[in-house]
C-alpha cells in the first residue's frame, strides 16, 4: 500500500507509527500517507540504530517532504559517516536542495559537517555567492561563510574584495559590513592584527568614509567607524573634520545625517569644556532630527553630568 510497506527491501522492518498522545491531541497535523509512512520507518530505523544505504534514501525522501526536520538531517549525517558514503555525491544533492529551500537552516549545518570531513572547499565560495543573489542578508549563509573562511584559512583569498563587491552592490547591506569586520579582525587570537594595525585602520576609515558619502543616513558605515574607534584604539576626535561635513553645531539647519550628529555629540563630550556643546547636539537630535529617540538622547544628555541639567 505504500512505498516502503510494499518494498521487499524493507520487509524486515516493523514501522513505528506516530503516537499522537491520545484521542484529542492539540494542533495535530493531518499528515499525508506518504509522510506518515516514511516517518514510521525512520522511527523504526532510529530505534534499531540502523545506518545503511536504504536509510540514506529514506532520509532523502523525508527531507524532500520537510526540509526543516532537524532530526532527519542529524541522523543522515551520522549515517553518511558511518557507512563511508561518497561525500562529493552528497554535496551535489545538497546543492540542489539548498537552492530549493533557501531559508532552510539545517542545510547549512549539514553542509558544514560534510565539508569538514571532505577537507576541501573547492567551488564553495562561488556556491555561497549564488545564494546571496536571492537574499544578500541571509543570516545562516553568512554564518556559514564565516565558518568556511576560518576552517579553510581563506582570509586572504579575495575575501576582502568579496565584501567590497557586496557593499558596492548595496552599501546598506550590514551583513556584508559585519563580514568585512570579521575578515579583517577574525585572527586576533592567532596574533594577526586587524584594525589595531595603523595601516589597516587608515584603509578601513577611508573605506567607511567613502561609503558614508554615498548615503549619509545609512547607519552601517557609521557603526563600522565607531567600532574602529572602540576596538582599534583610535580617538573619535580624529574623525571630527569628517563628521562635521554631515553635522555641525555651526550649521544647525544643515544636518545631513542623524548618525553624524550622534557621533559629533560624542566627540564634543570628550573635549575639554565640550559638554555644553555636546548637550546642544543631543538637544537637536531629541527635538528635531530624531524625535522618536527623544528619551534616549535625553538619557545621553543626563550622562554628561552637566550642572543642573533640569529640563
Amino acid at each position: 500500500m505504500g512505498k516502503y510497506s510494499d518494498d521487499p527491501a524493507w520487509a524486515d522492518v516493523t514501522p513505528l507509527p506516530t503516537d499522537e498522545g491520545g484521542p484529542n491531541p492539540l494542533a495535530a497535523i493531518a499528515y499525508s500517507e506518504e509522510y506518515e509512512e516514511t516517518m514510521s520507518y525512520l522511527r523504526a530505523a532510529m530505534a534499531a540504530n540502523e545506518f545503511s544505504p536504504r536509510v540514506l534514501d529514506l532520509t532523502e525522501d523525508l527531507i524532500d517532504m520537510n526540509p526543516a526536520h532537524y532530526t532527519v538531517w542529524l541522523y543522515r549525517a551520522h549515517c553518511l559517516f558511518a557507512i563511508n558514503s561518497d561525500l562529493k555525491e552528497e554535496l551535489d544533492w545538497l546543492n540542489e536542495t539548498a537552492l530549493q529551500h533557501q531559508k532552510n537552516y539545517q542545510i547549512w549545518h549539514h553542509r558544514m559537517l560534510i565539508l569538514d570531513k571532505l577537507d576541501s572547499c573547492e567551488g564553495e565560495g562561488e556556491f555561497v555567492e549564488r545564494m546571496f543573489e536571492k537574499d544578500a542578508k541571509n543570516y545562516h549563509v553568512w554564518s556559514y561563510r564565516q565558518w568556511l573562511v576560518k576552517r579553510f584559512a581563506l582570509w586572504e583569498n579575495g575575501e576582502l574584495e568579496f565584501t567590497e563587491k557586496l557593499i558596492e552592490k548595496d552599501v546598506r547591506n550590514n551583513s556584508a559590513w559585519n563580514h568585512r569586520w570579521y575578515v579583517i579582525n577574525g585572527r586576533e587570537g592567532e596574533g594577526v592584527r586587524g584594525i589595531t594595525d595603523p595601516r589597516i585602520r587608515e584603509r578601513e576609515v577611508d573605506f567607511a568614509e567613502v561609503a558614508v558619502a554615498k548615503a549619509p543616513q545609512n547607519q552601517s558605515p557609521w557603526s563600522y567607524l565607531r567600532g574602529i574607534a572602540r576596538k582599534g584604539g583610535m580617538p573619535l576626535s580624529s574623525l571630527k573634520d569628517f563628521v562635521s561635513q554631515y553635522a555641525s553645531l555651526e550649521q544647525p539647519d544643515e544636518v545631513r545625517s542623524s548618525h553624524a550628529l550622534d557621533m559629533m555629540a560624542e566627540i564634543l563630550a570628550e573635549e575639554d569644556n565640550g559638554k555644553q556643546q555636546a548637550g546642544a547636539a543631543l538637544d537637536m537630535l531629541a527635538q528635531k532630527y530624531d524625535p522618536i529617540r527623544k528619551n534616549y538622547w535625553e538619557y545621553r544628555k543626563g550622562m554628561l553630568g552637566l550642572p543642573s541639567a533640569a529640563a
Binding site: Y35, L42, A68, T71, N178, Q217, I292
Partner: protein, 500 residues
C-alpha cells in the same frame, strides 16, 4: 490600501506556512519573506507618501510622524535595502497617521482598540487539527503550544482547561534520555524543550517532565567553551544558552553538571561555568549581540543574551560584568525604526512586530542593569519610546476581519508567532517591570535572580500619553521567562525542594 482588501481572499495557507516554518529557529527573518511575497498591492494608488505629500487630515501627530520629520534624510542612492524600506514606510504611514483606520473601532484617543477576542480566537484556532501542508512545521509543533498558551494568557484568557490535553499531546515528544523533541521520535532539542516546558508551565502541567532525565540531557549539550548546543551534534548558539538556563531554573535542576556530561572532561563542573564569558563574546563591534561569536548583531539574540545573564545574577551585576552596556544601549535604541515606531532586528533591515518582544523586552532587563545614579529616576523614565511601539502594534499589526491575529507588518499574514510576540511586546510597552534586590533569598543550589521581578500597570497619565484605554491593557509578562508572572511564581514554589 492594504486594509481595504476586505474579505481576506481565503488566507493563502502557503504564506502562513512560510511565516510559521521560518521561525522554527526562534528568530524571524521576516523581512526576507516579505521581500519575496510583496509584489501585489499596497502602493499603486497611494503613491509614495513622502516627501512633501500633505496629510489629508490635520490631526495632531506625535513628533516622529510630523511631515517635517518624515521629510528628513532621504538619501538619493537607491539600493535593494532602501527600496524595501520605502515600500514598508508607504504601507504603514496611512495606518500610523490614522488616515486608514476606518475598519477598526477606535479608543478614546482615536487609535484602534486591541482586538482581544479576535486575537484569542485566532490563537485557539491554531490548536485545531491542521491540514497536511503543515507537515513542514512537524519539527516545531512545540512552538505552537507555547505561542498559543502564552499569547492567550497575555490576552487575559484562562488556559488551564488545556492542561490534560497538552500533557497528553507532548508525552510522546519527551525522550527517555531527557528533553523534548519537535515531535514523536525526534531528537531532543533546546528550542522544542524550552517551548514545551514553558507551555506546560502556562497550563500548570510541569509535573509530567522527567526532571532527572532532563538534567542529564542538558548536561550532554553543555559545551566546554561555556555555551550550549541546540541538540547533540547540532549548532552552538546563544538560543541554546538562554533556553537551557531557563529550563534549568524553572525546574530547579542541580547546577552541578551530571557525571556523564562530556564537558566535565574539560574541567567544567557547573552549568554556569564560562557561560557569562561565552555570552560576552557574542557582543559585536556594533554593540549588539550575535547568535554566536563574530556573527552579525541581531535583536532576538540580544534578548537571549540579556535574559540568560539575568538568570545568572541580578541584571545590575551580571550584565555589566560581561557586556559593554553603553554600546548595547545605543545599539538597542537605534533599532526603533522611524517613522514606523516598531523595532527592526538588525541594522538597515525592516520593522517586524516580533521584535516588539525581542528588542522591546530588552529594555526591562537593561534598564534594570543601569547604575542607580543614572537619569532613570524612581518615576521610571525610560530610554525608549513606548508610545511609538504601541502605535505601530495597534495600527499596523492587527489583522482586520473576523479571524484576527497579529502580523509582522501590514503586507503580511498573521500567525501564532507574531501574535504571541506582538502581545508580549505590547505588555513590555504598557507595563512597568522592576527588579527588586534581595526580594528572594538565594536558596542553596538554585539561581534565584530571575524570580525577583515585580510588575505594575501604567499610571493614568501614562495611559493618556501613550494613548491607551484601560480595557486595552494586556497582562504582565515575566521579563526573563516570557510567561505570566503568576505562572513563574508557581513554578518557583512547585520545585522549591529541588532534588529528584
Amino acid at each position: 490600501m492594504p486594509l481595504i482588501k476586505k474579505e481576506d481572499p481565503e488566507d493563502s495557507l502557503d504564506e502562513r506556512l512560510q511565516n510559521q516554518a521560518r521561525i522554527e529557529e526562534l528568530v524571524s527573518d521576516g523581512d526576507d519573506a516579505f521581500e519575496d511575497e510583496d509584489e501585489n498591492g499596497a502602493s499603486d494608488d497611494s503613491g509614495i507618501p513622502f516627501p512633501g505629500k500633505p496629510s489629508k487630515r490635520q490631526r495632531k501627530m506625535p513628533p516622529w510622524l510630523q511631515q517635517a520629520t518624515i521629510n528628513l534624510f532621504h538619501d538619493e542612492l537607491v539600493t535593494t535595502t532602501s527600496e524595501a524600506q520605502q515600500k514598508v514606510t508607504a504601507e504603514c504611514l496611512p495606518l500610523l497617521t490614522e488616515e486608514d483606520t476606518g475598519i477598526f473601532s477606535l479608543n478614546t484617543y482615536g487609535l484602534p482598540h486591541l482586538r482581544r477576542d479576535q486575537h484569542a480566537s485566532f490563537l485557539r484556532a491554531q490548536l485545531e487539527r491542521l491540514p497536511a501542508q503543515y507537515q513542514v512545521i512537524d519539527a516545531s509543533r512545540p512552538w505552537l503550544f507555547y505561542w498559543t498558551m502564552a499569547g492567550l494568557s497575555f490576552l487575559g484568557q484562562d488556559v488551564s482547561s488545556y492542561r490534560d490535553q497538552l500533557i497528553a499531546t507532548v508525552s510522546p515528544l519527551q525522550n527517555p534520555g531527557g528533553g523534548f523533541g519537535g515531535g514523536h521520535g525526534q531528537l531532543s532539542h533546546c528550542a522544542g524543550t524550552y517551548a514545551t516546558v514553558l507551555a506546560l508551565a502556562a497550563v500548570g502541567g510541569l509535573r509530567m517532565v522527567d526532571r532527572k532525565a532532563m538534567w542529564h540531557w542538558l548536561g550532554s549539550v553543555k559545551q566546554s567553551d561555556g555555551g550550549f548546543c541546540m541538540a547533540v551534534g547540532a549548532e552552538e548558539d546563544i538560543r541554546g544558552a538562554y533556553c537551557a538556563m531557563t529550563i534549568l531554573t524553572l525546574l530547579n535542576l542541580p547546577l552541578e553538571l551530571p557525571p556523564d556530561a562530556p564537558s566535565r572532561k574539560h574541567g567544567l563542573t557547573s552549568f554556569t561555568d564560562k557561560l557569562g564569558e561565552w555570552v560576552g563574546k557574542c557582543q559585536t563591534y556594533e554593540g549588539g549581540i550575535a547568535g554566536a561569536p563574530t556573527n552579525e548583531a541581531h535583536g532576538a539574540y540580544a534578548f537571549c543574551a540579556l535574559a540568560c545573564l539575568s538568570i545568572l545574577d541580578a541584571p545590575a551585576v551580571s550584565i555589566p560584568k560581561y557586556l559593554d552596556v553603553p554600546a548595547l544601549v545605543a545599539w538597542l535604541a537605534a533599532r526603533q525604526t522611524t517613522p514606523e515606531g516598531g523595532f527592526q532586528g538588525r541594522q538597515e533591515k525592516l520593522v517586524d512586530a516580533c521584535y516588539s518582544h525581542w528588542v522591546g523586552g530588552c529594555w526591562d532587563l537593561i534598564q534594570a542593569a543601569l547604575p542607580d545614579n543614572s537619569t532613570l529616576g524612581e518615576d521610571g523614565k525610560d530610554i525608549w519610546n513606548r508610545a511609538a511601539l504601541i502605535r505601530y502594534l495597534i495600527t499596523c499589526c492587527q489583522q482586520p476581519g473576523k479571524k484576527g491575529g497579529m502580523r509582522d507588518k501590514p503586507s503580511t499574514r498573521p500567525d501564532a508567532y507574531h501574535t504571541c510576540y506582538s502581545v508580549a511586546g505590547l505588555s513590555h510597552a504598557q507595563n512597568h517591570y522592576r527588579y527588586n534586590n534581595n526580594n528572594q533569598p538565594s536558596s542553596e543550589g538554585r539561581l534565584t535572580a530571575a524570580f525577583n521581578w515585580t510588575a505594575s500597570p501604567p499610571t493614568e497619565a501614562e495611559m493618556r500619553e501613550w494613548k491607551v484605554d484601560k480595557e486595552d491593557l494586556v497582562e504582565f509578562v515575566h521579563p526573563v521567562f516570557v510567561l505570566p508572572m503568576g505562572v513563574v511564581e508557581a513554578a518557583r514554589r512547585e520545585f522549591e525542594q529541588g532534588g529528584f
